[in-house]
């Protein structure tokens, strides 16, 4: 991605400019986090969460985002040991963060496969009450029996069932959130569907946001449709401006059939940012970070995840193996598939041959997520360009350091976005919905009729 000199110049806000939404992702348990850096601190201690959340709030971010872990990843039948591993339970951390922040939205990932609607709706409604309207729920699904071994449910759902269950799960949660009368009295609910058959009274009044914000992560066709029908925010990943614009047009184009408008769903890709005093310095830092993220051991492990066989005898600085992957070997568990291993392997080998890349260099090249690299001015201009050209409504920043990885961005880029007139200079509302410009959900009319 490049920026012209014209774009780098601060300019006054034009009337039609969109405002940029920003969120912060606490670095997850994968090789994004550079734990070998001397500035790296605990991924568990509350002080780390407090630092990153306070930084995000200082930067006037919309929300703070936590991923979820339900089983430790395994490789070759043993717990994966190269990356940061171990994390606290998300909702509990966010309730604690509600005590040390005032406006920042608080988003937890909670799986719709290994939870039940009543309890999940209750936990999110509680967070919304305790935080004064700042709760968000990132709905994910899981299909693997590996994760299921930690739960009563045990096995897994077919891929198709994952999304029908998730959609019914969210719809049911919304019925519960709406179930009390406007006067604040419990009112019976009853839901009968394919996945859930439940009834009773919910334990909380309607929460400050009406409904906590619903986030959906994932790019699959089912995920896009689910997001278009039910989500307030979609957390995505796409590499280029063009890919972003195509995704944006596709997902926003699905909204009308659900009676929704483009403003009802915010598209926020997860991105990384690397800053430098010059473009060259930023590129150098970014390359250094990638080398730390993809250690020789990590490069071989990533390759083994695709090939499905032990490759420990290979030299990470040497060429890719010419043997074919073993499909469905189950060598690595608890990690998202990268697609058909045979296809991926052929693509990677072609890339390696064409550019003369070693194993480690190939892994670096093929696993890099969308990055904004440059001077603060250039990065501010690029972020703005992405949003103004409808490739995104904003970004979820994924720092590579815990917990100081957002400090530079907030100190150096946020003021430039404010100068450009595309970013808030203070919070104007108190709820996450107000930060995102989302309407408060309308209480179904049937509820009004039943309250007399």
């Amino acid at each position: 991605m490049t920026s012209t000199d014209e774009q780098r110049k601060p300019r006054g806000r034009r009337p039609l400019d969109k405002h940029i939404h920003l969120a912060a992702h606490f670095p997850g348990v994968n090789n994004t986090t550079v734990w070998t850096d001397p500035r790296s601190r605990s991924q568990i201690d509350f002080a780390s969460f407090e630092h990153l959340a306070r930084t995000a709030e200082r930067g006037l971010f919309d929300f703070f985002f936590l991923a979820e872990g339900l089983r430790l990843r395994e490789h070759k039948g043993r717990v994966h040991d190269l990356d940061v591993v171990g994390r606290p339970e998300s909702l509990t951390v966010l309730n604690a963060l509600a005590a040390v922040t005032e406006r920042l939205g608080l988003a937890a990932t909670v799986n719709a496969t290994f939870n039940e609607p009543y309890e999940t709706a209750r936990r999110f409604a509680t967070l919304d009450h305790l935080s004064g309207g700042r709760a968000a729920w990132n709905v994910v699904t899981s299909s693997d029996a590996f994760t299921g071994e930690n739960f009563r449910r045990g096995g897994y759902l077919d891929r198709a069932d994952r999304y029908t269950r998730a959609a019914e799960f969210v719809a049911t949660a919304r019925e519960l959130w709406d179930s009390w009368t406007p006067e604040g009295q419990p009112h019976p609910f009853a839901h009968t569907g394919r996945h859930f058959d439940i009834e009773g009274e919910f334990t909380l009044p309607r929460s400050p946001q009406g409904h906590p914000v619903v986030i959906q992560a994932g790019d699959s066709p089912e995920g896009r449709e689910f997001a278009a029908s039910a989500a307030d925010v979609i957390f995505t990943r796409h590499g280029t401006l063009e890919a972003g614009r195509a995704f944006y047009a596709d997902v926003k184009g699905r909204l009308a059939k659900y009676g929704r408008t483009a403003e009802d769903l915010k598209i926020m890709p997860g991105v990384t940012v690397v800053l430098g005093d010059t473009a060259a310095e930023a590129q150098e830092r970014a390359a250094g970070i990638r080398r730390q993220q993809v250690s020789p051991q990590n490069a071989l492990l990533t390759l083994e995840q695709v090939w499905g066989v032990d490759l420990s005898s290979y030299d990470p600085d040497g060429p890719l193996p010419d043997i074919d992957p073993v499909v469905g070997s189950g060598l690595s568990q608890g990690r998202t598939q990268r697609g058909d291993p045979l296809v991926v392997a052929e693509q990677w080998r072609a890339l390696s041959r064409a550019k003369g890349l070693s194993i480690r260099q190939t892994v670096i090249e093929t696993t890099t997520r969308q990055s904004f690299i440059g001077t603060p001015q250039a990065v501010a201009a690029e972020l703005d360009e992405f949003v103004q050209s409808d490739a995104a409504d904003g970004f979820i920043l994924v720092p590579h350091l815990t917990p100081g990885g957002l400090d530079e961005f907030v100190d150096q880029v946020v003021p430039l976005l404010q100068e450009r007139g595309v970013y808030r200079t203070e919070y104007t509302g108190t709820t996450l919905r107000s930060h995102l410009g989302l309407k408060e959900p309308v209480r179904p009319a049937r509820e009004e009729g039943l309250t007399a």
Binding site: D45, E50, R71, R87, E89, T92, T126, L130, I198, T203
Partner: protein, 360 residues
């Protein structure tokens, strides 16, 4: 088996339940009040079957705004996932820096079962059997990370030593868990398990798994007998009975002035009520009652449930507690920082580390 009586320093706790309260502030106010009184811990009840917020969430919200007091939410085990439950309790310990407890509870009604639609209501005895298994698997999962599992060894590129992470492979009657936990071992090793043994079916779970047991008693002699019985049963389960604190559960109504409204309440009482023994009177006479039970070696302390939360907790903290401190029966400050330290309980040895050299 030891025959020691409950004559160490008293352990005092209070409930911070408040009806129709969904905001954080009223819970924070009461918890801070209890902390000003140097109480060991506060409890917050919970049930899926009645209005109220998630108790563990409320006390997580309270944690960063308090410093020393133990935090004990009720956590139900019937319709929840044991893996989620242990992770949330361990996380409360992380965010409170070693002040978490939990009070396992069951959901026995058909109404609660219909909220989930996964299983029918079951008899309390059966559900408490399951709750005991949840308590058991929780301690295994808390131990599934040894304390020094995180090594951050730059030379070998390894973040953790996987020899110190353990599958628990727990098989219960109604669930199984493979493990290990996603949450590293919490600061206290095991957050404190508080069991309400006033319920008949919870008695054995208390003897087996509780660090603190709450019991009902109308007088010191009865309390001493219940305490001795629990300690005996704990020993039968292979536990050191001195690692079990037995607190008398007492509802308190301190609205009646300085003295007990009911004659004989000062050093006697309390009176039975539908919700358990009730003391009604003033904070001074309550101090007399507590001192008398302590003299008799009847219990290790008291868990108070204020009838009118704000008023009664204030009178307890400003009236009863200073008198007990003056008599040298209760601490005047927190000498330790973790909830276990307040209770005088050791940090548990890791059951997997104890099997050193035996690969999991």
């Amino acid at each position: 088996m030891t025959t020691s009586t409950g004559r160490g320093l008293l352990h005092l706790a209070a409930a911070v339940d408040q009806p129709d309260t969904y905001d954080a502030d009223p819970y924070l106010t009461l918890t801070r009040l209890a902390e000003r009184g140097a109480l060991d811990f506060v409890t917050l009840g919970d049930s899926f079957g009645r209005p109220g917020p998630d108790a563990l969430a409320v006390l997580s919200r309270v944690a960063p705004a308090t410093a020393r007091i133990g935090l004990v939410p009720t956590v139900t085990t019937t319709h929840t996932e044991p893996f989620h439950v242990q992770a949330a309790v361990a996380t409360l310990d992380w965010v409170s820096r070693g002040r978490a407890g939990w009070r396992p509870e069951v959901s026995a009604t058909e109404e609660e079962a219909r909220l989930f639609g996964r299983r029918a209501a079951a008899p309390a005895a059966e559900l408490w059997g399951e709750a005991g298994e949840v308590a058991d698997v929780a301690t295994r999962l808390w131990d599934s990370w040894e304390d020094d599992a995180e090594i951050r060894d730059v030379a070998t590129g390894r973040f953790v030593d996987r020899e110190k992470l353990h599958h628990v492979d727990f098989q219960g009657a109604t669930f199984s868990v493979r493990g290990p936990s996603i949450v590293p071992r919490p600061p206290q090793g095991h957050p404190v398990t508080v069991v309400d043994a006033t319920q008949q079916h919870a008695y054995d779970v208390a003897a087996r798994h509780a660090d603190v047991a709450l019991v009902n008693a109308a007088g010191p002699a009865q309390a001493a007998a219940v305490r001795a019985g629990l300690r005996r049963r704990a020993a039968e389960h292979g536990r050191d009975p001195d690692a079990l604190r037995v607190l008398a559960a007492l509802r308190i109504d301190l609205g009646g002035g300085e003295h007990a409204a009911v004659p004989g309440h000062g050093g006697g009482g309390p009176l039975p009520s539908d919700l358990g023994p009730l003391y009604r009177g003033g904070p001074v006479d309550l101090a007399d009652l507590v001192a008398a039970w302590h003299r008799a070696g009847a219990v290790d302390g008291f868990h108070f449930t204020p009838v009118e939360p704000r008023r009664d907790l204030e009178r307890l903290v400003n009236g009863t507690v200073p008198l007990l401190q003056h008599r040298g029966l209760f601490r005047t400050f927190y000498p330790g920082s973790t909830f276990r330290e307040h209770l005088g309980l050791a940090r548990p040895v890791n059951q997997y580390a104890a099997l050193a050299g035996d690969p999991s």
